[in-house]
Symmetry: C2
Amino acid sequence: MPEEDSKNSLKKFGKKIVEQTKKGKNPEIKLPLRNLSNIIYDKKSRTLTLGNKEGTRNFFNVAHAKKFLQTIEVASLIKKELLNTGKHEHLRGVFYMTKRTIPGTNVNLVDEQVESDKAIEDLEVITGLSREQLHVSANKMGSMVGNIIIKDTGDTIDCSKLGRGGYSIPSITDELSFSKVNADYILYMEKAAIFERLNEDKFWKKNNCILVTSQGQTTRGIRRLLQRLYEEKKLPIYVMTDFDAWGFYIYSVIKYGSIALAHASEKLTIPGVKFLGITADDIEKYDLKKHLIKLNDQDIKRIKQVVDYDWFKDNKDWQRQLKMMKQMNAKAEIQALSSKGISFISEEYLPEKIKKKDFLD
Amino acid sequence: MPEEDSKNSLKKFGKKIVEQTKKGKNPEIKLPLRNLSNIIYDKKSRTLTLGNKEGTRNFFNVAHAKKFLQTIEVASLIKKELLNTGKHEHLRGVFYMTKRTIPGTNVNLVDEQVESDKAIEDLEVITGLSREQLHVSANKMGSMVGNIIIKDTGDTIDCSKLGRGGYSIPSITDELSFSKVNADYILYMEKAAIFERLNEDKFWKKNNCILVTSQGQTTRGIRRLLQRLYEEKKLPIYVMTDFDAWGFYIYSVIKYGSIALAHASEKLTIPGVKFLGITADDIEKYDLKKHLIKLNDQDIKRIKQVVDYDWFKDNKDWQRQLKMMKQMNAKAEIQALSSKGISFISEEYLPEKIKKKDFLD
């Protein structure tokens, strides 16, 4: 029972505090720092992770007391209301559940959601459990179709029989089990519109793959789902985004992780994922120049940031892509492929790229 | 075959133009005006609809020629590439498919998506078909669970057996068929987080209902799905949003339609839908005062707009709600109910409100 592990970790954490208190000590919590100075891009594992700098938080310290209390309160709530009942709650709900006035004072335990969010992150690094294992979720987003059968809370969900809609991915995917997977790879795309095109064309059936989409940034639920399929079912994953700095970044988050979630890298990043397109070379090759969109100031600013991220910096293929983007002074959308014919993407572009393994790493 | 009707409407439209041309006339298109002066709030049917002002667009008129061509081009593309093949395309894809240089000139047929979008709207009012019937879609969004079995492209989808994720609603829902529906009502909510709470609590099973959510504004696909279930299956629909002007507006769009889509009201609005909460009275009754959030400038501006919309203006219950919102100078989120207990919403709030028919109309 994985829930038992989570409960035990929280129990252990609570016991430590109780023991310190009984001994008359100033209760303290030790935890890894999560600020930028302690976030490291590990060139070997190619992921963003936390370094080993630690901080201490004491109860009898005016600067620490409130955060100390918040961490304990959230830990208690998660244990009692979520893990013990098997229920899950969203970050916003946890905030409302935590928000109360400390008895005998005018002080609220938390005033803003950022405080309960931070307390949950604290618990993640203290216990080594992910937020999902603590039963706390965030956005629900995205869809999946293909030859995969999932089991969840007693239901058997065959994602090859869900019409043009598909399976609506829950915010927490850690507890799904994969009872049958028959696919050669996963195609993940930034845009739901492309997902609908490929699903209507039965691309997944003809090419024996699984299609997954969100809209914009990839949720943790989807990242974890992709990672689990990659690791447990050894499925290659190809990512399709627009040809712009935002699209490239979406890819990099799936692959290497993000600064904000460096502490959760282990459970979210997928170093083996590949970028399928749209690339600068696709623009040439598939004659999409007519459909380029001029970069605006925000695009240019974002390119400058992305170029300098460690995980793009040491990769000459990506530096070349970003350089070409700047030289063209333009970006392009996946949908530009529609100009070559409504099903050009499913009948020519994708089969050719995948056959030739024309990916970026 | 509903597709045949759509094809015939477009054929009829094309034939008229050809006949005019053959007779040596200046080809013209007559169509209802879609500007504000021709958008009417019909107090009787309580929907926003187009009035009977008409405009004429001529081919031999420098001010009309380009729009004329765009409408014809989009009509031809929809007939040939979409209706004839049975495929569907998103607005953005139609734009890329339309975007080409007029032979022998330097002029692009369309430069911006807004032009192809307008041409599609023209076709809607000319033919009386909805955009969906023309096989053109927009956002895919939202999820559904409950005792409903859907048929789509040969698949049978049982929405009571999709675990914690649910059915991912496609962007076009006109072509779904409902093979079995066993529910007393539909509960539609603005927030996917609440949907996950209710689904985890098996609220739909215990209360024999269907749960539907999007995130923020309701897509056309969801509005059409709700409308069809309301009309074909006679299911009451209750809407749950935050207590703020944006939430009230989400409700009003489902019920009365929107200015931008007044021409499509007939196929989208659901006059019988009811507002369940969060109301100003709920704040008092369920002791949520502590969780009110102060109005910001945008909220106040939005309240002023909403108060003056015709469909809120003539309704004293809504005027009272908006007045109380201004007096409290505060808004509240659905999630505030979590402060009363994680499953308070599914075990107390909703059953009580529904039992007492404590709705706003």
